[in-house]
Amino acid sequence: MTIIDARPIAPPTGGRLGDSISRPDGTAKVQGSFAFSSDLNAENCLWGATLRSPHPSARIVSIDVGPAYRISGVEAIITAADVPGKATYGLISQDQPVFASDVVRYVGEPIAAVAADHPETCRRAIAAIIVTYEVLEPLTDPELAIDGSFPPIHPDGNLIRHQRIVSGDPTATGAVVVEGLYEIGMQDQAFLGLEAALALPDPGGAGIELYVATQWLHEDQKQIAACLGLEYDKVRLTLGGVGGAFGAREDISLQVHTCLLALRTGRPVRISYSREESFLGHVHRHPAKIWMRHHATAEGRIVRIDARFVFDGGAYASTSSAVLINGITHTQGPYKCANATVDGYAVRTNNLPCGAMRGFGVVQACFAHEGQMDRLAVACGIDPVEIRLLNAIETGDAFITGQVLRNVAPVERCIRETAALPLPDEPVGGHDGDVMRLPGGAGRTADVSHIRRGIGFAVSVKNLMYSEGFDDYSTARCRLAGGVATLKFATAEVGQGFVTIAGQIARSVLGVDDVKLDSIDTGVGSAGSTSASRQTWMSGGAVNAACMKVRGLMFDHVAATHGIDVDGLVVQGNEIVDTAGTLRISVIQATADAEFDETVQYHHKPTEDLDENGQGNCHTAFAFVAHRAVVDVDPELGLVKVIQVATAQDVGRALNPLSVLGQIEGGIAQGLGLAVMEEIIMTDGRVRNPSFTDYLLPTFLDMPNVVTSLIEEPDPFAPLGAKGVGEPPTVSSTPAIVAAIRDAIGKPLDRVPVRPTDIIF
């Protein structure tokens, strides 16, 4: 077992695979000179802003932009009538209007956009546009979308997708039956770097250049070009520095609006969202209700699971259909189960649109299946750790979709190593009785003698990469000349550190120290999205493949130059060595007068659609993790302090252990947020807390120390042996913390986030 207490070791030669080297953009970021999307400006640039609906459902009777146009400094106002191409966009189905024209379907839906000389002028212009609405009754109850009793709020209907899974014998029974109804609130990604873009129009409006913080440049390019009515190659995208993403930048937000304003005015235009606008302007984690019933043997082996999932997709489809599939196909969690009947619904309502957030449907499923495992443990009279070990899935087992698990699956090891990690040695309140260590902290409200400590456990499986037949390939280009490697890819660096490991891959494969990274833009093929824990595997695979191809050409060149057999050549350190002879030559020397340049696409193995019974090899790969949480609870005020989270994670191979640790700790922080504080509260389709004052995020005082063990069993299907590590920490940290609170106070707590009132009453 390796307990990670990562102090990076300065690598001797620039950082190979496995070294904890620092980020190449680190110095710029700490000095404030790194250019985020919101930092980009241009000569003669205008500011843009967006008018949004105040109603969750209304008919637009009229829009009068006249008063806004009369404000000095306003240069353009655009509405749906000014969209020259496709009027709608969307990731899976294009059901979302660039601007609402006839009806609005959620609070925050864009209606018009303004370009002006100053942000304050924009604000006043937006306020001066007069929109007359006929307010309609909003659809806010997902069940009314399922039963068909509410009239369609969109031409595509109120049901986005229904999918069943029927596996094995649906009548199988067990001696022990437990059931629960679980509810997950709407979580916001709350990246710190607000949505921002800068659009530069080509002369005559023939094309456009967009600098934007996004997760997937080529998907944006496709959707923007369609709405602008321009050919793809007339829409060129460059990644603006990204201040976090977590799923919220996978959908279009301000991209089309910024481009339209720039094309209309013939001037550069930049838009930067406010925090309130960001809450309204991007998709969120789906709120969900999940019913599960587990049958098990008296010893605790799962016999059968029945489940029903309802995901509230909000007003537009976004990725709801894929989130649904992710959720229901993870019903069983990382446990063996032969028999299951699952019904899943993703529906349309007049709530905020929902889509991707770290964990993508699996977070919701895991909260439910882990609640069930704890109920099962109680019903069978065994320990929560034992029940999980007893049912742990293994390589070669089939999921309820019929898909056989082929990846490395160290579930048992994750559980055992997590359980063996040291518990916190501090008593309630800390060794020195510091009130800051108590629930309520600076509020000094807690009475130490009343505080109850609890310990909870949770385990999860998370699919990696895209599913259901989608070929989410990645592209990379490698050029090598004079001992310098230059990499180009369109992989969105959102903070996760792909730029760090890309260099490590090139140095390891090519034996160079000097790796340059080209601009991240649409000047090379798609990398797919920075989501689904997929970029280390996919773009890492592409960079590796491109570098391997270049290395082959370099070996050919060396063999030809020196009249030796190419088969004996290997890279050792910074040298090419002939294992069959005596040649030993530095890569710098060997490439002094040569240049090699290769572009490679990396594809994962194909996947399949699910059939009507939810059967099919729909997922690409799987990763596993276990979490143990220790909490102190003040049962009188309903306050929770998380004292420690311990975790053992299946990472395949840690290409940069310090980066992996950062993903683990950061992912757990977001899981903690969902467990005890983060929720977008909606009443009748209206958002009550769109600010950092009212939407609570974990601070330094809320996050405990994390004790981490990396389980490194390289996956034979992964190009570098490394599994994606970004999402798993978020998936089962939430149920582990809630289980710990249950352990402390003995209440069922079937809803997250757990609120003070859930603890008190």
């Binding site: 680190g26 970021k29 404030g32 009369r70 903070g495 950061g666």
Partner: protein, 177 residues
Amino acid sequence: MSNHNGPTLDGSIAVQLNEHYSLDVNGETREVQDAWIGESLLYVLRERLGLMGSKGACEQGECGSCSVMVGGELVCSCLVMAASAIGQPIVSIEGVAPVGSPSDVQQAFVTAGAVQCGFCTPGLIMATHNLLERSPEPTETEIREELSGNVCRCTGYGRIIDAVQQVAVARRSAVAS
């Protein structure tokens, strides 16, 4: 929606860009021209003086991304009217260390893995320098409390605490030797 270019409204609604003043920023006198009186210090530093290192993420003083020093106090520049900072020394992230020569705190953040997306980082660097000047050997609880006004969404804070502790240890050994 066309043909709406009517007469311009009077000054009651148009934004008046007519303020002129100077600020003392990072040891230099900087002129601010043709500004709106309602501009925040964050806006003026970024948009009028080109100092883009301070970041805006909440506009409510909740996240600390815009932290700068004004008159020796750590403040959220999004909550300070720029014109109210006239006559007080202002230090932004650009004034902490020359480009390419990071301070000890900045270097520790890089090597300890305390930076991911980096959007919160300039504010945290300002807050950490301020903390270590007031309290050279902070306990872990003190670090957590002192920096709790700075929100980071990527790291989970563990590596940041490590970076702060590394600086405190290094400064102590430097003093000892």
